[in-house]
């Protein structure tokens, strides 16, 4: 009896305090992973990133294009690893760490993206995405969705995963 009573009180209070569900406009916020690929900072949709880990061992495969750094052993499966700088034509300014891997995956494609440092995850607003300046978009326009902020290049993860440019079929 006592409990039934207090339950009623609690329910009342809950009703009183309850706020209507805040409606978010669909697609407004995008969850991204930010990473450093010296000297640029990039962001990529988190939904494309399956896992992030440190590069331990890398086997180069002779005869592959320059953007293919090699293959890694990811839980007994071989996964190719890509150097985005080579792909986007970013001038290599020296040696950077390049020892973190973002594993990108969709239903049919899977590869690792090498980077210098993972900067963490963040939300960006769709409306804040600006067109990339000509200097950036020249790099690989279809792979770049725009600028997430003034210093962060937003990659188009879906397009990257679907890109025929990456497929090596000799």
């Amino acid at each position: 009896m006592h409990t039934a009573n207090s339950l009623e009180i609690l329910k009342k209070r809950a009703r009183k305090l309850a706020e209507p569900l805040r409606k978010e406009e669909p697609g407004e916020r995008i969850s991204v992973i930010r990473f450093l690929l010296y000297p640029e900072t990039f962001a990529i949709e988190a939904s494309c990133v399956h896992e992030v880990f440190s590069l331990r061992d890398l086997t180069s495969i002779p005869g592959t294009p320059a953007f293919v750094m090699g293959v890694i052993n990811f839980r007994s499966t071989l996964v190719p690893v890509v150097n985005l700088k080579k792909l986007l034509g970013i001038h290599e300014t020296g040696l950077t760490e390049m020892n973190k891997v973002l594993l990108l995956r969709d239903g049919s494609m899977e590869f690792g993206l090498l980077c210098d440092r993972i900067l963490g995850s963040a939300f960006i607003l769709q409306k804040d995405i600006r067109d990339a300046p000509a200097t950036v978009s020249r790099l690989g326009s279809e792979l770049i969705a725009g600028m997430a902020d003034e210093n962060t290049i937003l990659l188009d993860g879906r397009t990257l995963l679907k890109s025929r440019q990456l497929i090596v079929d000799q």
Partner: protein, 803 residues
Amino acid sequence: MSTSDEEFLKELLEDFKLEAAEHLQVIGDGLLELEKSADSGGNPTKTEEVFRVIHSMKGAARAVNLQRLEQLAMVLEGVFHEVKNKKLTLHPAMFDVLYPATDMLAALLGEIDKPLKSVSQNDFNLMIGRVQAIRNVRKGGAEPAPQPARLNTEPAAGESVPEPEPPEAQLRPQKPSPEKHTHQKKEEQEQRQPQTQQTPSEAGPEAQQDAAPADFSAVNTSGRGVSENETVRVPVTRLIEILNLAEEMITSKNILRWHADEFGESAAELARLRTRLEEELTDNRQATLPDERVALRKTIQDLRSSAGRLARLSDELSAHQRRSGRNIDELVEHMRHTLLQPFSVLFAVVPRLVRDLSKSSGKEVEIAISGAETELDRRILEQLKDPLIHLIRNSVDHGIEPKAERKKAGKSEMGKLAVKVGKADGRKVQIVIEDDGAGINRERLLEAARKSGAVSKEALQEISTAEINRLIFASGVTTSRMITDVSGRGLGMAIVLEKITNMGGTIEVESEPGRGTRFIIRLPQTLATFQGILVESASELFLMPAQAVSRAVRVDASRVKTVESKSVVQTGGHTVALVKLSAVLGLSSRERKPGGPMMTGLLLEREGRRLIFLVDTILGEHEGIVKPLGAMLRRVKHIEGACLMGDGRIVPVLRPSELFVSAAGLGLQVRSGDAATAEKPEQKTRVLVAEDSITIRNTMRNYLELAGCEVTTAFDGQDGFEKLMTGTFDVVVTDVEMPRMNGFELTAQIRKQSALQDLPVIIVTALETPDDRNRGMDAGANAYIVKSNFRESNLIDTIKRLV
């Protein structure tokens, strides 16, 4: 419909699909047989079989409520019912309807999982009409059956049609077909048949009573224990999953072996250390006090027992590893045998193919297949499909002559093509594809081979018949004057050879002008576990498929001669060209080891050509699974895939066929320059690179090696220091941020060693603050280079300046 009902229906559908696929195969085979015997008065046994199977399919389709399938099966059944009762005689023209009707049955079956219909209602109605028309042919349509009229109108509405003429009553008393026990599939199908007959509409109370004792006896059989012939129905996909898992264990086996070996070595090392300690203690009696000696003796005692225990554990581990290794091998072998499938699976398409090909080319070809029950690894069967189709197309297209030509040659107009499968020695299967056509045209083949460059003019002088015949497998050689989509591009045969050798098989060709051509393929019954020779070339590891390697060779550099700008050597009575594996793979710029007087290589033989691929070292053999390189690297030239080694390393597996092609492109130049550089040894700058990032480590190595340095790498400061203590170096290049011992600490350690006091140390770092620079200099570094301007700052120049 409740969920459980839905699930039940789903299960039923799955069963139906499996069963119907088998039925379709029997129907397809049956039609071909019947077509053959159409002129000679028919084949009652086959008619019976086809009728029975179509009938079963109809009943089962009704049970799972697939109306269109049921309708089509029903009209087909009607046709065969009349054939069976001799009311209708099969005429060759009828098959032009019956084959497409069978195809439509397959298409309707394929619709089950799809949301959309692939067969339009219009096409469906037309087909029903065409099949019906077959029956109307009978007796000139004098006695039209009542059903066709009904069927022609009703299916359009998409309604289910009442059974026109239930043949069950006639069916039951019939004797089973004589082929009952030919193979498992048929047997299963027979066993299931009584059940499929019990579809709801026809299973009256009487029928159910009939069924009960039958079921009971089935229970009894299994109650007696598992009988020899008892089978279980398991989806092939599940078996493949199990096989994949079993094969994955081969990698586990390798890992286990590697660890067991490492463990054994460590245990042995500990035992050696203990012995040394004991000896040193005995030698240095004076240096130690009696008390210390007693304490040390005690420790040595403990060490001894602990080393003994480790040695025992190591032995046990090794024994266990060997036992489980054997079990894994056996498991894999058994699984592979479980997945053996009869050739008939593959042959299902063959007669149709020959029929279609001969129709389109205006030739008449009779195909005879034997040994279809021979069993083979299903993956080999899958791989064999294209080569087999190609060879058959080749025989019809190039082998068998047009009718007129055959007549002129005094042969029958009907060409003969035979495919014979049988067991061969050593658990192998032999496939013979034989035609009685014109045979290989020597002159045209030689001409084509010369044109494509597969063989030189000089070589043509002394070529043997066997070698000529083998030329048809060389890529680019085609004798067809016209390129059709069927054959004539000259690639096909090369691919056939490649596929067959990849599976560990061989292919030979025999031909007699005017009499015909015979291809003989020999294949292992199960796909063998990959065996490779592990080699090192340009400081990278590779696996060469063992079946491609004739033997490993040691070549004396002084015996290498240059013939027509090619390096050759005499071995085993042949003049064999030499080529560096690293050069073929495009790794030449990273060549490190100067060649000694003896060179190591692998002798490969292919299409009758021999070639030695020179490597730095042959490290041993490896057995395992070749994994694909990932979806992105769909196909990489020279590289088939990669194996995972026991220690987790990835080693690329080479594709010999492409190595041969690329080697030819290189002009096969191997300067005995290997020896030449060895004569004039230039002292290289020995650099130690300490760097924890593997990417930078490799980039630095390449960069420095390109500049002519000899590079040793260390993965952190500690590792670097250990390497410094055991080797001789001219300069150290180190990173700052590293685990265990950072670059500043390493520099300080180096300066503490009297022997290393003058060793130049270059710090390369991403850190850019003046503080860091000062810290580096304080520690005793000679130069400080910031990575971001690594190239500009010219590490090489700095090294040259300091050394």
